[in-house]
Symmetry: C2
Amino acid sequence: MPDDTADDIVTAAFLVIGDEILSGRTKDQNIGFVSGYLTAVGIDLKEVRVVPDEQPEIVEAVNALRMKYRYVFTSGGIGPTHDDITADSIAAAFGVPIDVDPRARAILETHYPPGQLTPARLRMARIPQGADLILNPVSKAPGFRIENVHVMAGVPAIMQAMMDSIGPTLTTGKKMLSRSVDAQVPESRLADQIREIQDSYPQTLIGSYPRVYDGRFTTQIVIRARDEDILLKATAAVETAIRNVTG
Amino acid sequence: MPDDTADDIVTAAFLVIGDEILSGRTKDQNIGFVSGYLTAVGIDLKEVRVVPDEQPEIVEAVNALRMKYRYVFTSGGIGPTHDDITADSIAAAFGVPIDVDPRARAILETHYPPGQLTPARLRMARIPQGADLILNPVSKAPGFRIENVHVMAGVPAIMQAMMDSIGPTLTTGKKMLSRSVDAQVPESRLADQIREIQDSYPQTLIGSYPRVYDGRFTTQIVIRARDEDILLKATAAVETAIRNVTG
């Protein structure tokens, strides 16, 4: 059951599936993309998980997240090799059968020369029963959507193309707008004033982010709100507070 | 209860706390560092979660992860501002009181000039009862360890310094070794052979990672094992398989 019953808030979780991220071999690039993409369209990313290529872990995470958020997006594990177990794990999570899907098979048949749709490649056409395909303009092998779970490739270029193809199908909420203000002082010098502004503008979310560069401590204050008028008022209050502190 | 009862496997989870990662404002740099660090010392990172600056979410994640893995590492939310709620959330997760800790206060007193240890800065000395401090050579305000949970700053330079200071205290397992082999063909052409090698060497974890660059599809095969002899044999088998396919 998603926790976003208010019309103007749509929540999501992102599940990264892959040993290579957990071992440090591959630096993840998908979390940054998905977080920015969802914020831009008006969907609140509320949680990210990274799990290994192990069916019980994938099943547990998918089932926890799909009950809690409106949308779940996954990346990784839908290729042709033995370690690509995402599709089977998603079928297990939903308790539905999985087999070669005729629509997915047709896409792969047009992609590979005659006789080259090997059993390994045909594995990429295994889709859980009841799922819709997500088109893959880069390398053809599709992702899929089952209920509120969108299953995408792990290769960033392919994942991003899939996200573009599902973007228009998503229900979006009122966008979270943001402004940021830099201050040339450590955040501890602004803390009391920023807390007061947060209390005065409860419809905003104000974050204070310290930076360390070359031994100097500075701060970026980020103000977020769905209402632009409130956002601008709170931002002005932050700017005044910073001026008062920095003299 | 950690799932790593075998002596040679030590498991861990990493919990990133912060709205700024979920909104896309800040690209996470800590997951890549922690995953590489733990692999290098012989600790298996099994799960990562990113949660917002909301106490119920932090409590739920910490309690789930600390029961499941030997170690939990967290980053973010231990500064002086209103949005820094990690220490209080960890205390709530463990059901222990939290107050200004005399050891942490003493560290801050030596750091700030007389009279400048303001109430906001003193917030950084709030430590859950029963915790040990984690020293912070960069900006002094300490992190802490309570039972198997290590609480660190979110700023990458500070987080990395804290990790260096706790590294020697950690129990480590037998290191997971790895070799990688590049192949100039799409992974679907290697899939059958790699699956057979995986089946022949069950003590290894073999991953197949497709790459798309300029419309060309290539593959990196990564072989991992704790035993070097097995690792080298499986790697040789992968190299032979690639030669057979690429001719």
